[in-house]
């Protein structure tokens, strides 16, 4: 079986070291509020260029996976979410910590996350190849329809305003067109600058948007930390009547997280909100939520981990990133000349199975770290936080420069950093822009191939049932604000008459 062979190859000192480095960096990134997992992955993308593809991807996956737990630590102990998918853990997790049950909250999150991650990996193992095999029968029409729906969903579900989500997506698509056209070779939106002929570099743009943008937004904010706690191994486990609600909410969170994580635009962050809503909705004591209900920690914690792994399904099988972090992670493949999608399973199955095996190992490492090293993580928050701004600035510019040794990339990173800052204070989500930058050219190529087949006739999409259905759903998603507004007016008018 491929996974057994992959595990035997992953268990060597070099690969284990890179997985460990990734998990440690991921936890630190998750714990530190000033830097997000896409920023950390983007900053380390160029360094993986010198590593073997398997080792580099294993390290980046460790960062992605480790950060989802690191954010939960500060959510529970300090009421400061380190990542988007740990925001919901502040509600009941911090309440539990104030009641002296912080260790229990952390233990439930750690063990629940390990369980959810393992189940999600098993599902990835079986579901991924089937979806990739199905996708081999897709033509350019289906691929365009899938990417169009993915972009529509991401615009709709990211952030508070669909208009701002669509703007972010549109900007990403526009940025993605800069440079030479793939089909005709003609320059687009280069304004005469030959340095833009190859397009806008993905790594400089992403390190600027996520790394510099975040630091510009948070620089000068002092983090006041004055919290101590002692952890005992026994305190990490539920006891007596706490077992049943913990186990059931972990199971539910695992399922919710996986289903939500697979859908582009939903991702682990929204999965945690859905899991919390489910737990509160079915609970016999909903008034306990927000006061330290263990289900409010276990369910979202499991959803966060399974949602993160689930994001690998559309990425590996279809080449469609389901979230901004997945889009940045996709850069790790592109740097090594690998392109996620159905052909990846066919031509580089060793890379895919090696990545899944690395995630299994990383999951175990994360469980050990999360049960033994929590006081170290909290200490790191207070020690490194004052120096984060200059360190991130240095890493951002090195990351932007080192890929092609071009000083222009530094200016690109600075420009996108300023754009990222304005995005944050303007309430524009970043994920649609990053995903659009990755998918835009592929979607355009698929569209033009489809229309070349039919000599410019758009009905070619209507002759393919799957493509037609996906495109109709995508248009409904994009038009939903106006359709909902019309529906509300209709309802008001009816109620008046």
């Amino acid at each position: 079986m491929e996974i057994i062979q992959a595990l035997s190859q992953v268990i060597n000192p070099s690969t284990l070291l890179f997985i460990f480095i990734g998990v440690v960096i991921g936890e630190l990134v998750g714990v530190l509020p000033g830097i997000s997992s896409p920023a950390a992955i983007a900053l380390l993308l160029p360094t993986t260029f010198t590593l073997a593809p398997g080792d580099g991807l294993a390290m980046l996956a460790g960062i992605w996976y480790g950060s989802s737990y690191g954010g939960i630590i500060t959510s529970i102990l300090l009421n400061i979410p380190g990542e988007g998918d740990s925001v919901i853990s502040t509600l009941d997790g911090y309440a539990m910590a104030k009641q002296g049950q912080g260790a229990l909250a952390l233990g439930v999150s750690a063990f629940g996350g390990f369980f959810a991650g393992t189940i999600a990996l098993i599902l990835l193992q079986f579901v991924g190849p089937d979806i990739a095999a199905l996708a081999m029968r897709f033509g350019p029409q289906e691929f365009f329809a899938l990417m169009f729906l993915g972009l529509a969903l991401v615009s709709w579900l990211s952030g508070e305003s669909i208009i701002k989500g669509m703007i972010s997506c549109g900007l990403g698509l526009l940025v993605g067109t800069v440079g030479g056209d793939i089909v005709s070779g003609e320059s687009r939106l280069t304004f005469g600058f030959t340095v833009l002929q190859d397009g806008i570099g993905f790594v400089p743009a992403v390190v600027g948007l996520f790394g510099l943008g975040e630091i510009l937004h948070t620089v000068g904010n002092k983090l006041d930390i004055n919290h101590q706690m002692k952890i005992s191994i026994r305190g990490l486990f539920p006891h007596g009547s706490q077992w049943a609600p913990t186990v059931w909410s972990t199971l539910r969170g695992t399922v919710v997280g996986f289903v939500a994580g697979v859908i582009p635009g939903v991702g682990p962050t929204n999965a945690t909100f859905v899991a919390y809503a489910v737990e509160k909705g079915i609970s016999r004591t909903p008034e306990q939520f927000g006061q330290g209900a263990i289900e409010g920690v276990a369910g979202p914690g499991a959803a966060s981990h399974s949602g993160t792994i689930a994001g690998m399904v559309p990425l590996l099988a279809l080449g469609i990133p389901a979230s901004g972090t997945a889009a940045v992670f996709m850069g790790g493949f592109i740097i090594h000349g690998l392109f996620p999608g159905p052909l990846l399973y066919l031509q580089h199955s060793d890379i895919v199975w090696g990545l899944i095996a690395a995630l299994y190992v990383g999951n175990i490492m994360l469980l050990l770290m999360n049960t033994l090293m929590i006081p170290v993580m909290v200490w790191v928050v207070s020690a490194i936080r004052p120096y984060l701004a200059p360190i991130i600035g240095v890493l951002t510019l090195i990351g932007a420069y080192s890929l092609s040794n071009n000083p222009f990339d530094i200016w690109l990173a600075v420009g996108f950093g300023i754009l990222g800052y304005f995005f944050r204070i303007g309430g524009f989500p970043l994920a649609p822009m990053v995903i659009a930058m990755v998918l835009g050219r592929k979607a355009e190529t698929a569209l033009r191939q489809s229309l070349q087949i039919s000599n410019g006739d758009f009905s070619v999409f209507m002759h393919r049932p799957l493509a037609a259905s996906l495109i109709v759903v995508a248009f409904l998603v994009l038009l939903s604000p106006w359709l909902l507004a019309l529906w509300r007016r209709y309802r008001i008018a009816r109620s008046v008459t």
Binding site: T47, T50, I163, K164, M166, I167, G170, L171, L173, L174, T177, D181, V183, S184, E186, S187, R188, L189, F191, L212, I215, L216, H217, V219, G220, P386, Y387, A389, P390, I391, G393, V394, L397, I398, Y401, S402, N405, P407, I410, W411, V414, G417, I418, Y421, F422, I425, G426, G427, F428, G440, E444, L447, R448, L451, Q452, S454, N455, G456
Partner: protein
């Protein structure tokens, strides 16, 4: 000419964003259609100008929608810039300018020292000490281990 209320609304976050996007969309549309004059559509379907032109027009419409919605909503927040953010922006742009001139390592060291002293308000001696430590770590990890070719300073390092 424009009342104070509308002026405030246009200078709000949504108003300024909408205006910027509208101008950007119109500019890119004009560039694609009239300056570069690339093919938008031919007998085989969309040409190279199709997607940039469509996206530019969509951004123009969305920008106008955002700006119009800002006019209809009272008490829109305004863009405000903290002093640390402005200082950091100045420093990072200076770093980008000096990077190829005085060398990669020198400019990064200077950036760290200035950031800690000017933005984080740390003591000068401490800022210099940390910047030298960071410089050593950058040299060891990126130049020595990973072989990144930073531009050299006029002094040879």
């Amino acid at each position: 000419m424009i009342s104070r209320v509308y002026r405030q609304a246009l200078l709000s976050v949504d108003g300024l964003s909408g205006l910027f996007l509208t101008i950007l969309g119109l500019f890119c549309s004009y560039e694609m259609r009239f300056v570069q004059q690339l093919v938008v559509w031919d007998e085989s379907g969309p040409g190279p100008a199709w997607l940039p032109l469509v996206m530019s027009l969509i951004l123009t419409v969305l920008g106008l929608k955002l700006a119009m919605s800002a006019l209809l909503v009272r008490d829109n927040p305004s863009y405000s810039f903290s002093r640390p953010t402005l200082k950091y922006t100045i420093l990072i742009m200076s770093l980008a300018s000096l990077f190829p001139v005085i060398g990669g390592l020198s400019s990064l060291t200077l950036f760290v020292a200035m950031e800690l002293w000017w933005v984080e308000q740390e003591r000068m001696r401490f800022s210099i000490m940390v910047s030298l430590i960071v410089a050593f770590v950058v040299w060891f990890v990126f130049i020595r281990l990973l072989g990144v070719a930073f531009p050299l300073s006029p002094w040879g390092f």
